[in-house]
Amino acid sequence: MNDMIIPDLVERELKVVGTRPLRPDGMDKVTGRAKFGADMHVPNMLIGRVLRSPHAHARIKSIDASKARALKGVKAVITADALCDLPSEFVPAGEMMVNFRDITRNVMARDKALYEGHAVAAVAATSDAVAAQALSLIEVDYEVLPHVIDVEKAMQPDAPLLHDDMYTIGADPKPEKPSNIAKRVEFGFGDLDAGFAKADVVVEREFTTKPVHQGYIEPHACLASVSEDGQAELWCTTQGQFIVRAFCAKLLGMEVSQLRVTASEIGGGFGGKTVVYLEPLALALSREACQPVKMVMSRTEVFQASGPTSGAKLWIKVGATKDGTVTAADALLKYQAGAFQGSPVQPGAMCAFAPYELENVRVIGFDVVVNRPKVAAYRAPGGPIAEFAVESVMDEVALKINMDPVDFRLKNAAKEGTRAPYGPKLGPIGLVQTLQAARAHEHYAAPLKANQGRGVASGFWFNIGGETCASLNVGEDGSVAMVVGTPDIGGSRASLSMMAAEELGIPLEHVHPIIGDTSSLGFNFLTGGSRVTFSSGMAIVQAAREVIEILRDRAAKLWEVPMEEVEWVDGHARFTGSGEAKSLSLVELAKTAGKTGGPIIGNAAINATGAGPSLATHLVDVEVDPETGAVKILRYTAIQDAGKAVHPSYVEGQMQGGAVQGIGWALNEEYIYDDKGRLENPGFLDYRIPVCSDVPMIDTVIVEVPNPNHPYGVRGVGETPIVPPMGAIANAVSHATGVRFTDLPMSPPRVLDAIDSNQAT
């Protein structure tokens, strides 16, 4: 918490914050002028391509690239040797932790290929066709090994072992033998046995979820250029140019200041662009070729080799008394990590029961490696999986005691002062307000017809802060260039500009946002954890207040009065002392800055803390075709605590986007593998994210319970919206059919089978 940032403005009359201006990046996006990852071209550019393992698990006995190197037009060929082998060291990437030992092995296989699509070599050539031909000339001698893709099979003692040096962290006693279980976590308090003994009703269920991809429309893409003296530039689509710099420098053995990374416009990330795939390879190829190298993934490569979120096996047990008080809650979560450790099971375990005030609670989680692509962060990583299962069981408990599911949640809702299942006491949060808004909403009372059902679910997400820098440069004409180091994936250029304009008291049109490259600011943690409007907003406010201090000082000097007698109001310095009223605008002060002390800039470098959790409640109506199993989403209302909605349209957009991604997760999205561990649907035809006609207009209700740690009361809003949908939809489908659905996705064959099996019994 930075001293300057005090929650003093929440009560203030706001002129810009809370309005809905046009977004500053809108024009370039609709005209096609915006430059995304694949849009950069430079002279003498080579095209890089990756050779990928056709096997789910194989020992790489040898790689012979001599024929590829000899092909005309091939300028560089690399294997894992081109990157540094690194010791085990965990570092944060968004809300996830990554390990450098694993990153270097994930971007290029060493010794073993651990999933279909795992990179084993890369080439750079004068054309894409030559590069492709070169790939076909690389001879890899594989020893195919038994593979495992199911999380529970991977946990068996006789399962094929991915890493022979992996001993379960957190297991007591420490295991003597290696296994695919990377980590065990446990949270909770109280006395479970006593809690369940008090219960009148106990519901215990098992659930499964499938890995789902973030589904960003823009594939991974980059352009790297390394000069002969080792200076390097990298253009790429990413959620964090500073994280890309840190990871690439480590993998290539460079100093971070030798590498300048520029983030392109980003065509969707959702957490999936918080790690590196092509970037270190493009740099290594460019270093070898001494020419710029561009690399772009195909959609097939995106599905085979970039991170989905975990599939999981879950067990939940909840007990409650007849009056609706939850007496005990227990959960066992087994998450697939993909080929390397680091599933989001820990955050999943932490937030599984977080919307509830509980006396007796326990969550145990396992992080398990399998022969699938390494998972990456996906919007509230880990949360939606655990909370889908918990919200399904809570719904069933409410049904059993004949209590309205919203009332049941209200009775047990976490609020300020509630001890979270993961330990600390919660600050002010808005769950109760979202539940009250749900109950009062016209949607909740609307009539339903045959084969229709309504579901409700709540959701919790932490949100984060982190290292953040920003600068405001006041131009000689009084316009303000705003530089931030966090890529804009959800409208943050708009919300940050609005906070700058609000603080400075100037028109929004005079603030011009730029996402700076890594040479323009100090270190910024990436765009993730719903942190940017919160953290970069804090930094912008601090920088703006620094600018205001300077402006007051300049006015005081011009007027030859003490600075204490100059206040900043509505974009003007005003003399408050006795005598003639004096006023100077920001524009006037900027024009004379050269004579009054030089350029006027405000900088902030902070470690933002005090991010407030955002909670949500979603309502959904579905209709199930009992003869085909098709589920139609009829109506959807998302209600969420935003703290303060700086730009309400983009808050609503986040809520709608999360709900739609959740609809896909609930109904159709899944990875389908053959018996050899090869992905059968690496494309948008058969990996079915929702199309526009699949979803109704998502209605939204923004609740504002200010976060006291932010000058405008902001909470992150981007991730929470994907937490409730799966539980809400599963509950709705269950009510429409009379059959409890515990396995995602609820695709038509699965729904029809469940309906038919139920009728047969």
């Binding site: 894409d128 492709a132 772009v296 109904l667 159709n668 035809l685 006609s693 699949d694 038509p748 029809l752």
Partner: protein, 311 residues
């Protein structure tokens, strides 16, 4: 190149950056202006036919095919256009689906065929996609084929030896394979003028609402007499067997009935019994068998409604 055909330009294509599989292609492209020339060109080794290109271009980009010669049929006379006389309808095989859908009289005569072609891809795709391409691509899941089978459509097949007529259901022989001889192509489709009190309908099931491939498709065409008794019926199914199916027992279940509940139930059973599907990423055997019956029954219900509302 064909002598005396200056419009036939041989072009060399090499793959671009967007060509992901990266094979270097040396490919001729020809635009014949007569059926005879087209048949001659298509007889050559490595020749691929191009109509709308919605399948060929995708396969090219995916590296699934490497044609030596692409024969673009769109300039062949009578391959495009819709005609009607007392003998019935004739639709050129390369007429874009969007054009057929906008033909009010055809849409009134064969609404089921039109609803099938309006399910192909997207609006943009329908501007290129053709009935001939959808049939000859020989996918078991092609949307227009069950509807054309139900409509009793017959293909005009042209080759170096002349022209023959082949019912639509005899064209596809296996996934990706058809009964056309080398050099043959479909010039057009002939459909009858539907009698009074006739109607057709096509339904398909996909997990989403659009941009997907049929898990099951069902087309039904039927005609009623003045008393409302079914005198004629044809039932086509897609995506439930290696080829689109003409379900004779489905027609039998309807003919002679008033298309009542019992008849529809018998139709559903016949449709399910005709299925020989596979388990794949789009659906299971059990699912396809059951839903084929459901869709056939529902399509028959719609066709019946259309028949009774048609004066």
């Amino acid at each position: 190149m064909l002598a005396g055909k200056p419009e036939c330009i041989a072009t060399q294509y090499t793959s671009s950056n967007t060509h992901r599989e990266g094979k270097t292609l040396e490919m001729d492209y020809q635009t014949p202006t007569s059926a005879e020339d087209a048949a001659g060109l298509l007889s050559k080794d490595g020749a691929h036919v191009l109509a709308g290109g919605t399948d060929l271009l995708v396969k090219l980009r995916a590296g699934m095919v490497a044609p030596k010669l692409v024969v673009d049929l769109k300039d062949v006379p009578r391959l495009r256009g819709i005609e009607n006389d007392s003998q019935g309808w004739r639709v050129g095989a390369a007429t874009p689906c969007a054009e057929i859908g906008e033909h009010a009289a055809f849409a009134a005569a064969w609404p089921g065929v039109v609803e099938s072609l309006e399910l192909i891809g997207s609006t943009q795709i329908q501007g290129r996609a053709t009935l001939g391409g959808n049939l000859c691509n020989a996918s078991p899941a092609a949307d227009t084929v069950p509807a054309l089978i139900a409509a009793g459509a017959v293909c005009e097949v042209v080759g170096v030896k002349g022209q023959r007529e082949v019912p639509v259901e005899q064209i596809v022989t296996a996934p990706g394979q058809n009964s056309l001889a080398r050099g043959e192509f479909v010039l057009g489709f002939r459909l009858p003028n539907p009698p009074a009190r006739a109607g057709d309908a096509y339904l398909r099931f996909i997990p989403r609402t659009e941009m997907d491939i049929a898990v099951v498709g069902a087309g039904v065409a039927l005609a009623l007499d003045a008393k409302g008794v079914c005198t004629h019926a044809r039932v086509g199914l897609g995506a439930v067997a290696p080829t689109p199916l003409l379900v004779g027992d489905g027609a039998k279940a309807l003919i002679g009935t008033k298309v009542d509940g019992g008849a529809l139930k018998a139709l559903a059973a016949a449709a399910s019994a005709a299925c020989n599907p596979i388990d794949d990423k789009r659906g299971t055997v059990a699912y396809r068998i059951k839903v084929a019956g459901v869709l056939a029954r529902r399509a028959a219900g719609i066709a019946y409604e259309r028949a009774t509302s048609r004066k």
